[in-house]
Amino acid sequence: MFKKILIANRGEIALRVIRTCKEMGIKTVAVYSEADQNSLPVKIADEAVKIGPAKSTDSYLNYQSILAAAEITNADAIHPGYGFLSENEKFSELCQDHGIKFIGASPEMIHAMGDKSNAKDTMKKAGVPTIPGSDGLLKNIEEGLQIAKKIKYPVILKATAGGGGKGMRIVNSDSEFKDAWEKATIEAKAAFGNDGMYLEKFIEEPRHVEIQIAGDQYGNICHLSERDCSIQRRHQKIIEEVPSPFIDEKIRAKMGEAAIQAGKAINYEGLGTVEFLVDKNKDFYFMEMNTRIQVEHPITEEVIGHDLVMEQVKIAAGIPISGHNYHPNAFAMECRINAEDPFNNFRPSPGIIETLHKPGGYGVRIDSHIYSGYTIPPYYDSMIAKVIVKANSREEVIKKMERALSEFVIEGIKTTTPLLLKILKDPDFVAGNFTTKFMDTFEY
């Protein structure tokens, strides 16, 4: 097992990793920028090394400083958390070169999944469902009709030069195709001076459902069930939950199998997440794979009873996994609290936490690096706390989350808590009746 792990990150995920290391008896090194001098991870790590100024590119994204910090502290592994260098091929390679274990994916795996079209090809070959469509540009209307027939309506025509909905048409049947094609090409020509079109299956009522997988150094890969992350705003997840209210045991097994296939295709080692879009018919399509721990990993921990960061560390140290899949034995939900003003276009709200009172009690978990008197710096991500609850039904989970959020007192800055409380009371949300478009029309 590792003797000392350097955490190449900040905020709650740095704290998260340090906590597990402490529980495993592994020494920790926090690295920090000038802006994070008084941060909680710096305070509780065994050692802390200042690596640069506030700007991420000069500190948390600075390979050289982070590796030098590992060298001067004799750390034998680096945990990158999420974001920053966690999916950086070059950094993973540099760690290898310097004999420091990168607790994450190898350069090859990151490479295979980092490029979207690469990843899609790999998945297709592995038999993982991807969104079907034309291979590049359509030659003519006839080819479009042929492909549409093959992949089944509805389909979406998209201008290759497109954007902002221009040169885009949803087509529901053969009879609509010609008209849509003509209008879209004219529009694209006018808007972009380019009427090249391609075609894809149109995903109706999409949900974001991702599968957590784990693979060890010996080729064993298993899945740890799904997380429904459909409640998002501009691709930023807001609330995540497991089980997905939309997924049953049968679909879970199919998606889990597909995610394992995805992992096997690249000989995946470590924890990873395969993101799928699920349409109204419960057909699912590969979106992308994240080769790192996710922000929302705690809800999986709550329902399978295992510490995922501990699993990451064990896998990196060469300990084999059991290899069997895990299914949720409870219901869990996570709300992300951001230092943003939800009633003012989500304007960031850095500043001093004047008053802090965290909720507690049965089934309530808080992952947060803030403390009373802490100053949230303006340079980084605005997430300041994750509230995770667990109970025996979705209804109980929602009630518990409401209770927990309403006990949470954070004064001195604006937070997204009031928005979260409103979502929790929304009848569609309560009914589990939502798609990734939920926030587009949600009134608050």
Binding site: V29, E34, Q37, N38, L40, V42, K43, I44, D46, E47, A48, V49, K50, I51, G52, P53, S59, Y63, Q64, S65, L67, A68, A69, E71, I72, T73, L94, H98, I352, I353, E354, Y371, S372, G373, Y374, G412
Partner: protein
Amino acid sequence: MDIKDIQALIKFVSRVGVDEVELEKDNFKISIKKNQASPVTFSENAAPIAQPIYQAVPASQAPSEPSEVASAKSTKEDNINLVEFKSPMVGTFYRSPGPDKDTFVNVGDQINVGSILCIVEAMKLFNEIESDVAGKIVKVLIDDASPVEYGQPLFLIDPS
């Protein structure tokens, strides 16, 4: 008085309602002040509550601090015109280009902008560190072959 005592003392001072403690003992001198210059009301409240929570002394720094050096802060107050030359990167500090070589600079040496002061090794790269001021080396703050953090003071320079 070892580092643990000093840490305990600093923590203690920050917790109780005092603003400044100066302590001199044998060849040892310490000066602890609490932040008086917080113009915002809230930071006055927050500071005494937040700061004593933890000791934020990086452990990696402790063993590398040479005993002859007074704390940077008090030195700075005593010598208001001196400039701290800080490490531009994390790594290992070397005073000479090699084990048998002469040191780049010594106390009393006159230096110019661009003079090489030391090497900071990071990832097996030996980065020669140039001065951005002209003046005279007053003190070398770090022992040879010690680890240094970003922004850690390496030399005191008298620019006059």
